[in-house]
Symmetry: C2
Subunit: 758 residues, 2 copies
């Protein structure tokens, strides 16, 4: 995002500097290149104004603002009717209208950037417009009805997550949804088969146990009603009522245990694995397709940029070096000289002074090589990156762990805390001093960031606590809680000292960015279900703090719950009374255990249910299918895939073109080989210019690029790189040939159609 | 197994028929070939007596007997001390000695067949011997001590599952164990990291909740003791105490829910998926290796057989057609003419009258093509395989389902049952009549077998029940239960009428044989844990039937359990009082839910536990790690892999050499294309001889081989076939070349070494 801003600045300055005619294709090419770098796909209009709008659209501030309003819109549920923190209706309504206006503006902006046909053909845009209209209509109706004293349902709140899904920035979430949509047909067949098996087993259970007059542990009739059996056995599939549902039959005869064993094997173990298999298989297939599409799209954009810039040179169509430099200046104005020269050497293989072909893959947007000048202090305090130093601090962490486990009351221990803090701060300062601040706080230095944040937060909190204590004589419990958590978190650092654990931890850290996608997905599903849940079950259950003398305090304010498992388990706080509680109840349902008990409350308090079908049961089964069977399985698939990618990467090296070139030139030093030094140390001299000395082999003390290790890359990037490495030359052959022969002007309509196809 | 018996017969007859010198290498080659067909690897000795012993060793009766005694030995636990059906000690001891003698005899037999070096180098054999010695020693000591009135522990009972693992027939179970062993190192690292995370979260919980004086729903102190917190959070990882463990903290402050949400996400979702990823990855890797090894071994055996039979023909070393026919006569005396001629045509590509090279892959032991003559009745009652017929019976099944769900008491419904039975019997008879019995009951006709068994068992049981009712005026409840189950099972048939479901069902059926392996694995683990459990917890908990007036009947005969969740849930029958109950408790622990409650009983009744560490907790955690983290994950991996193999098979055709040849000759009809006809119908004429008419293209009505569809194959066979199809020719190059240049006599020591290496 940072670089977009720079793009814009670069764009403006070059725009004034150069003649308009000359810069125009350069600008367009730059737009193509930066579009490809971010894997975006906006088939933009081709006037200079539209191009400026395009850059503005992708400005990081605009994007952040969009996200801000999306989350503001979603979080309105906290302040609306069953509110955690109530706000007057007027305020929330005005906020909602504001959000909707922002969304509309964003959409109009997008429409101004893209071609008309593409804009209207994109279901995303239609979807957003319908959502805005629906929300406005609902808000109006609700307001009018309220004016006449009629309280209606704010049904349009379910529509809100659509904004999170459909704005162009949420590519990952949309991809997850597409993946789900593609999985649905296959999952449906397995689900039908599973339901068939469930119905069969229920029928068997009815026949076997129905006429034996058995009773459950609560003294209720056992397995008499077919629909109740189906539900009980569905709960058994999730293992939530595991031994309980079996006990009456088992007590009657040991042989009946065989029925339940068969049931669990078939439904819990085999069918649930089947769901995972189907979801995983589809997820993988889908992921590959998406990545392939992205890679091809990127290549096509490159071709288009090349076509815009090409000039005749003898018989070839080439991009001359000067133009190339101008382009790089535009797209990435602040990369280092060596980086630029290296890129040129990759593009201009034989050093003829021009780029004769479209580069196959020019890495992503990030420069993975650390080429900043070496720290001037290096050598003075080298012990801070030595083994003994690391081990000493590992020992200190271990001692600290023991101190943390000890009782807090003793004053000596609270003094010890200051000692530890001082030690940690010293460690960080020493390391920063040894390795030069910019290297220490490099983008990929996860642990350094982690350490520094944890330690300084702890320091701040401890000082704050000590101040509060000395002034008010009491510890602030909230601050202390935070201090405790920070102290314990600090211990995680020890994991990084073991090579084996580090590998696993790195994979976990790699997963985090994509895990946020699942966070988004879960948020969408939770929002929808929480809003429905609040409408259905709001206020049925009350929570009273311990010692309350309200009537029915022990029965959650609902006499119908007397003696129920729900009240006995003190589950009163598991209710749908506001957005936050709903989220926590849904979380408990995702974990699955005891969900039939949690659901007892709402069911009973709805009375005897609406006829045979109780809405609570349907609600919870629907949630289980969506969340556990589909989304949790996708999450598991995702983690499985991430690990398999890591495993296969360990075996086969996938190098980018840049890394290959560096290796070819003999200037690469694998970062992993430097592991013992803990930090990246720069060995580049004083920015030597490669230009002109192409043939010379580098001296041992010359320019050395450090190739970043495979740490801290996202799974997506890894997969994309793997696919690009695999992409066969003949695969792109025809389309590339076709594209290369296109005239620069013809390239743009071509983009539009390709964009809509993707 | 059938074919082994035939081998032996064939061996004897050919032995008397031919000159001894001539038949000797033929016999040895036949042994190699049949060895390779079954993927066995016994580097046998090379005297005619040893060869006869070898055939005897592999006789199906010998194998069945071995399995019988293995299971007898295991099932002794049912009759021994904490017995389900008590038998005097003398009887069980004698039975055990008998079993041990049988095992010893089997081992001696194996020793007589194999080469000495190989025998002693094989840990399997050493293992069996040690197990026999340990069992005998334990039995003797126990007997002597009992004589002096001292009752000791029969510890050697844990050793018994070793026999199931180590006898040569249990290749699959051993492979599963090897897979586990190979997974252990990697799993250990993940497990250590997981434990670290658990300990960290526990420390945080201690600091956050320890001094707030919270109480659980039972009024016990909440999160005070570090070890108890660790255990509670371990239980939370399995989600068994999901909302309960959170409620006190959540009631205190809603923010604390975040702690538990973070815990569940990190430990339950991420780490548990990680375990699955590691197990699956290793399982897959290991499976591939094993299959590769088997495929190479098979090829090598073929080479050895070729070397034994080869003669000089010009410059080549070849096997002449006559000798080849003799060999086939020996190995598979009753295959059809067309099958034999086809095999010859594959081996003798250019029809020169000799086999010039080792065949790459000659399929497995089964002949997948149906070449029996067509039914003489076909055409008369074709409607029985028509669509209308199938639909009519689907409708009948649906109506039957409704009748089953209705009340049984009405006499009309029990009459209807007879009508349905009559209809089903008619259906089967019609189908048998139309399709000819041998085709109808073909090996791959799973559904036909299923139908027939279910219907005739139901018929028998219903008749039996009617007889009993008319004589005793009462229904026999046991017979009725069976009738009910059979009636419901009958409904499964409807699944086969939907193409989509059929695909899923076929995969499930394919999985069944290998699932038995996991049955074996689970049996071994359950046996070990059941025996330990019985020693530790035997008699601590009593079960009294409802209405018993024994003291403490409601507290499971143990006053310490008063008011416990264990007694309240009526879990008294979940105890370790005998082998059968132990198995059911272990099953409940595998399902995981409520396991901390089930464990409460034994824990409390052991008193305050031995110091801080309560044996029950350790026992249950150990079981959880072994069973749920490792074995259930392997099971899931296995199902995942089976499905992925099915999926990839759907895309890429993997053909055996035989199928390729048939396709080449244009005589193949894909069975799948005949699907609508429901049954395999034979189109072969009257066994025409292929010999001599090699060049003629087959006439439309000539010899047609039906290529079996991909139904009903085991995953192993599929994988092996896939690997063989992939096996690059240059891969086997060197070793094959090396083997081919060996003289026939040198081939045997070679086998010995190759056998021990594999």
């Amino acid at each position: 995002m940072q670089s977009d801003w720079r793009d814009l600045r670069g764009l403006r300055s070059s725009h004034t500097r150069n003649g308009a005619g000359h810069s125009w294709d350069l600008l367009l090419a730059a737009a193509f290149v930066s579009d490809a770098q971010y894997n975006r796909n906006i088939p933009f209009r081709t006037s200079p104004g539209a191009l400026r709008l395009y850059y503005l659209y992708n400005h990081w501030m605009m994007r952040t603002a969009t996200y801000f309003f999306i989350f503001l819109n979603l979080s309105l549920a906290i302040f609306e009717e069953p509110a955690v923190y109530p706000l007057p209706l007027l305020v929330t309504s005005l906020l909602e209208v504001l959000c909707l206006l922002v969304f509309l503006a964003r959409l109009v902006h997008f429409g101004a950037v893209t071609l008309h046909g593409t804009f209207w053909r994109d279901t995303k845009n239609i979807c957003i417009m319908v959502a805005i209209l629906l929300s406005l209509a609902d808000l109006t109706i609700y307001g009018i009805l309220l004016e006449y004293g009629v309280s209606s349902i704010r049904w349009s709140r379910i529509v809100r997550p659509l904004f999170l899904i459909n704005f162009a920035e949420s590519r990952q979430i949309r991809r997850a949804f597409r993946s789900i949509r593609n999985t649905l047909p296959e999952i449906t067949y397995v689900f039908l088969l599973f339901m068939f098996s469930l119905l069969m087993f229920s029928l068997m259970a009815l026949k076997l146990f129905g006429e034996r007059n058995l009773q459950t542990a609560e003294g209720l009739p056992y397995f008499r009603n077919y629909l109740e059996i189906v539900f009980d056995l569905y709960v058994l599939v999730t293992t939530a009522n595991s031994p309980d549902v079996m006990m009456p039959a088992f007590d009657f005869s040991s042989w009946f245990a065989l029925f339940f064993i068969a049931f669990v094997i078939v439904n819990t173990y085999i069918f649930m694995s089947l769901f995972l298999a189907v979801v995983y298989n589809n997820y993988k297939k889908h992921l590959k397709n998406e990545i392939r599409k992205l890679a091809y799209m990127k290549r096509r954009k490159m071709v288009e940029a090349f076509n815009l810039l090409k000039e005749e040179e003898g018989e070839q169509l080439v991009v001359r070096e000067g133009r190339w430099r101008q382009l790089v200046q535009l797209v990435a104005p602040d990369i280092s000289n060596s980086h630029r020269e290296l890129l040129l050497r990759i593009s201009d293989d034989e050093q003829k002074g021009f780029v004769a072909h479209v580069p196959h893959t020019v890495g992503g947007s990030s420069w993975p090589f650390d080429t900043r000048p070496s720290s001037p202090w290096r050598g003075k305090l080298t012990f801070a990156s030595g083994r003994a130093f690391v081990w000493a601090f590992d020992a200190i962490i271990l001692i600290n762990a023991i101190f943390i486990a000890l009782d807090e009351q003793s004053p000596y221990i609270s003094y010890a805390e200051w000692v530890f803090l001082a030690l940690y701060v010293t460690e960080i300062l020493l390391k920063v001093y040894t390795h030069e601040p910019r290297a220490f706080f490099g983008k990929t230095q996860f642990w350094n960031w982690f350490d520094t944040l944890i330690i300084f937060a702890a320091l701040t909190a401890t000082v704050l606590n000590a101040t509060l204590k000395s002034t008010t004589k009491y510890n602030s419990q909230q601050v202390l809680d935070i201090v405790f958590i920070l102290r314990v978190l600090r211990l995680i650092r020890i994991v990084d000292s073991f090579q084996r654990f580090r590998v696993i931890m790195n994979t976990l850290i790699n997963i985090v960015p994509t895990m946020l996608t699942f966070g988004g997905l879960t948020l969408v599903v939770y929002c929808v279900f929480a809003i429905i849940g609040m409408e259905l079950f709001h206020g049925k259950i009350q929570f009273f703090p311990a010692g309350s003398d309200a009537p029915h305090a022990l029965e959650c304010g609902n006499p119908a719950l007397k003696d129920s498992l729900f009240a006995r388990g003190k589950y009163c706080k598991n209710n749908f009374n506001n957005f936050a509680s709903s989220f926590i109840v849904l979380m408990e349902l995702t974990v699955v255990n005891q969900w039939h008990d949690i659901l007892c409350g709402p069911t009973w308090s709805l009375g005897a249910g609406v006829g045979l079908v109780q809405p609570a049961k349907l609600y919870f089964i629907a949630f289980h299918i969506v969340m556990v069977i589909i989304i949790v399985n996708i999450f598991v698939s995702f983690i499985l895939e991430a690990f398999f990618v890591e495993y296969s990467l360990e075996k086969s090296e996938v190098e980018t073109a840049i890394e290959q070139k560096i290796q070819e030139l003999g200037m690469g030093v694998q970062e992993d080989e430097l592991q013992d030094e803990q930090l990246l140390v720069n060995m580049e001299g004083d920015e030597p210019d490669l230009e002109g000395e192409g043939g010379t082999k580098p001296q041992p003390k010359g320019l050395v690029f450090k190739i970043a290790s495979k740490r801290y890359r996202t799974v997506d990037a890894l997969l994309q790189r793997m696919f690009e490495a695999e992409m066969p030359p003949e695969d792109e052959g025809p389309s590339l040939e076709e594209l290369l022969t296109l005239s620069p002007s013809a390239a743009i309509p071509r983009t539009a159609s390709s964009g809509s196809a993707a």
